[in-house]
Amino acid sequence: MDQHKTVLHAQNIRKSYGTRGNVQEVLKGIDLRVMEGEFVGIMGASGAGKTTLLNVLATIDRTTEGSILIGDSDISKMKDRELSAFRRDKLGFIFQDYNLLDTLTVKENILLPVSLGKMKKRVAEDQFKSIADILGIKELADKYPHEISGGQKQRTSAARALINKPSMVFADEPTGALDSKSASSLLGTLEDVNKQRGVTIMMVTHDPVASSYCSRVVFLKDGNIYSELYRGDKTRQAFFQEILKVQGVLGGDSVDAL
């Protein structure tokens, strides 16, 4: 796979919260480059800044300092309206608690990102069919979220993230609310999507099993990048062991487990 093209390039990202006198810096100057077709996992203890980093990169939140390029666009300079349009056209999102709309069926939920009618109905229909096929939720098209299982909801959410052929998909603890079987099945599917369709994915997780599906794992500690691991040709099992080691040094999991 061609890994020379940069999809995301973040430079010196800083983010602080709070008012004058009581400022808390959550991200303390992060540099990160993501290549096309990568499946990047972000790990770290609670409070390390994982979700903040994801939100900032995903244009949901703004940085205090630093620049972020996605494709050719500098999103740190965009206005709110432009950011919205950018998110809608270029990015996909998977959330821990699915964030499906209760009042819409599975298919309607999946088609939401293209619901402003910029994509032709026939194209959207084809796109829906192929994605629903990959994610194995074709039969659920007319069901409402309350009628399906958590794993199926997350697949729906994943399908929604993929429908507009995004440059990049952001996933925030996608397996956090799933049982281990549904979780591994979903991760396997994400891995397939990543490998076969070349979709770039960035996933925040605190679960070493989940991150063992990634091609690269970035460890955060106190708002800085602590280390990175590449899977390379290693088996998932071996990669998992390596992740565990780093996590042991970080000592984060014990905090998370509480």
């Binding site: 949901i60 998110r87 964030n99 009042t103 619901s115 402003l116 959207a124 229909e125 409402y144």
Partner: protein, 650 residues
């Protein structure tokens, strides 16, 4: 740890929770204040000495009846607002129990809160009421046509009555709160804001049938409302009411869901953002909202019809009175006098005061007659008494009527006009003399009377030749009473009416019925002014209640859907995109009850238009337009609330 809660700590808790929850409270608080103000104003007017003095009792009873209605509306409104308020706070109520407060303690806490809140609302409401009641009194007096100085007195009775009524309402809402605490499980309380049904696939066949029945019932109600004027008038009215209300319910409960389901099915998942934010959530909540939408629609229809009717009456008072009393002053034989002497006395006085007038004696023939069978409304199918009037004499009296030929007649009669309105002319009429009959062709049905009551009744205006013929034909009998004289006095300048009326009132006996235009106009003005005031007042209450209930409900829905808006904004939809869908939803939520209510009331007004001789399209449209405008204010407020929610969602 809370087992030893004392009244003081509970009270502290109350104060703390009230301070923290101010945004939940203000809605309920305003509903309470609003109800108190309106009730107090009404009570004040009911006990106001100048109102009582002006009306001599007639206004009092009207106010009393309206007061009871107002009480009902205010009660229902407050209870409803309280129910919404409680539902919004159910998580908080659950939390109190979770930390160990007993149900009894939570109930006590809520009751203390409720009492404090209601007492505050009562005090503020009465204060505001005292300020605005003078305004309302002035309005009322202006409407009934009283220009004098009005003194406003502070009414202790009104305060006592208001306090008493709202104490009862506090008891009622407290019971409601206790029930809410005791009957709900903890889990239920925590999930209360998540409840919403899930749309099921309607059973295609049954829903289809019911959907069509709903529309058919409304259509039938409309159809029948135009054909009610027969022996079964009362039954017809009930059938129209029942079929329209049931039809409206089915419309909301089945027809709309069914239609939406069909639309949605056709979209095959490609719903689009706007439909996702309007059609889908509406379908989602249709079952729960059907009742309130039906009630709001029916209430709106009734209010609209009431307002349009009352305003039309008020608006057409002058015209209608003129149609009944075409002659300014009419003297007829009474008791000992022939009327001629009185007329002379009156005109002498007019002359003395330099008031220009026209005096015209009019002779009428009193006869029995009958319409040709089945040519007019069934209710007129019997022998009745008519006055035959000479066209020439009317022309001399200033009534501009010209009969085309000597064989035909014009029919007038204010009391029967509503039945005759739709009669197709020419229609044959048979006049009876004791021995013989004479056929006359009626070629036109005129509006109102040509002579004031009681000479009126039904009047046939004929050419002089025919008049003489009828006179001869009926006069072989020696009964004089068949010929009656009336003496009309018309003022040349209608501006003199007030002055002339004073003269007339002074010389005529107070115990006698008066058949002049002006005093009857004043009397109608007074009763119609009172009617428009009371219905306007009640209408405003209805309107604000229905509008607020919709607003409250939508507020709750907005909060329930907040997470959806957050998701949509994360997915990259702008506030404007989302608002586009929400505005559509509000157009439905507010627009459909308004439109159906308007349609209902238009048909109701059409059915009721027989009361009027003049055209009421204009006044009815004005009343409906004003109603719709005020109602739409609530829609704008709601959209504003949604905008705030969507903006804050991310």
């Amino acid at each position: 740890m809370f087992s030893g809660v004392t009244a003081l700590t509970l009270f502290d808790l109350v104060i703390r929770s009230m301070r923290k929850n101010i945004k939940h409270y203000y809605l309920y608080f305003f509903a309470l204040i609003f109800s108190v103000v309106l009730y107090f104003v009404f009570a004040t007017l009911q006990h106001d000495p100048s109102v009582i003095a002006r009306s001599g009792g007639s206004m009092g009873s009207a106010f009393k009846a309206a007061g009871i209605l107002l009480l009902f509306i205010a009660g229902i409104f407050v209870v409803y607002a309280n129910a919404i308020f409680l539902k919004r706070r159910s998580r908080e109520i659950g939390l109190y129990q979770l930390i160990g407060l007993t149900k009894g303690a939570v109930a006590r806490l809520l009751i203390i809160e409720n009492t404090l809140l209601s007492a505050g609302a009562l005090a503020i409401g009465i204060g505001v009421g005292i300020l605005v009641s003078r305004l309302f009194l002035l309005l009322l007096m202006k409407l009934v046509g009283f220009d004098g100085f009005i003194e406003m007195t502070f009414s202790t009775e009104a305060v006592v009555q208001t306090v008493f009524v709202f104490l009862a309402i506090i008891v009622l809402t407290s019971i409601q709160m206790v029930v809410a605490v005791y009957r709900n499980t903890l889990l239920g309380l925590f999930n209360a804001d998540k409840t919403g049904e899930h749309p099921k696939k309607p059973k295609a066949f049954m829903s289809g049938i019911l959907a069509i029945i709903g529309m058919a019932l409304i259509a039938f109600g409309y159809w029948l409302s135009g054909r009610m004027l027969n022996e079964l008038l009362f039954v017809n009215m009930l059938v129209v009411l029942a079929s329209t209300i049931l039809g409206t319910y089915l419309l909301f409960r089945v027809t709309i869901s069914w239609l939406f389901y069909q639309i949605r099915k056709r979209k095959q998942g490609h719903l689009g953002l706007y439909n996702s934010l309007s059609l889908a959530p509406i379908m989602h909540r249709m079952k729960g909202n059907a009742n309130s939408l039906t009630i709001i629609t029916v209430l709106s229809a009734m209010t609209l019809a009431m307002l349009a009717g009352a305003y039309s009456l008020y608006y057409s008072t002058e015209k209608e009175t003129r149609l009944i009393y075409p002659v300014d002053f009419l003297f007829i034989p009474t008791g000992g006098s022939t009327g001629e002497a009185e007329a002379k006395q009156f005109t002498d006085e007019l002359q003395r005061q330099d008031i220009a007038y026209q005096y015209s004696p009019i002779e009428t023939l009193q006869l029995d007659g009958e319409f040709e069978e089945n040519s007019v409304n069934k209710l007129l199918n019997s022998r009745f008494w008519v006055s035959v009037v000479n066209e020439k004499q009317l022309q001399e009296a200033g009534v501009d009527i010209e009969i085309p030929d000597a064989q035909s007649a014009y029919y007038y009669g204010a009391s029967t006009y509503w039945l005759m309105k739709s009669t197709e002319v020419p229609v044959n009429f048979k006049l009876y003399a004791p021995h013989d009959g004479l056929d006359i062709s009626i070629v036109k049905i005129g509006e109102g009377n040509v002579l004031n009551p009681p000479s009126g009744g039904s009047q046939l205006v004929v050419k002089e030749e025919l008049y003489e013929e009828i006179k001869e034909f009926s006069s072989d009998e020696t009964i004089d009473s068949q010929i009656m004289m009336a003496y009309g006095v018309n003022l040349k300048d209608k501006k003199d009416l007030v002055k002339a009326s004073d003269i007339f009132m002074e010389m005529t006996d107070n115990n006698r019925a008066r058949f002049d235009y002006y005093s009857n106009y004043l009397a109608s003005m007074q009763s119609n002014g009172l009617l428009i005031f009371i219905s306007g007042f009640l209408g405003l209450v209805f309107l604000v209640s229905t509008g607020s209930i919709l607003y409250f409900k939508q507020m709750t829905e907005a909060e329930q859907e907040r997470s959806s808006y957050a998701t949509l904004r994360q997915l990259g939809f702008t506030v404007q995109d989302i608002m586009g869908g929400i505005v559509r939803k509000q157009m439905f939520v507010f627009g459909v009850p308004l439109l159906i209510g308007l349609l209902h009331s238009i048909f109701a007004m059409k059915a009721a238009s027989f009361i009027f001789m003049s055209d009421i399209t204009l006044p009815a449209s004005i009343a409906m337009g004003i109603y719709a405008l005020i109602y739409l204010v609530f829609a704008f407020l709601t959209v504003g609330y949604y905008r705030k929610t969507v903006k804050a969602a991310l």
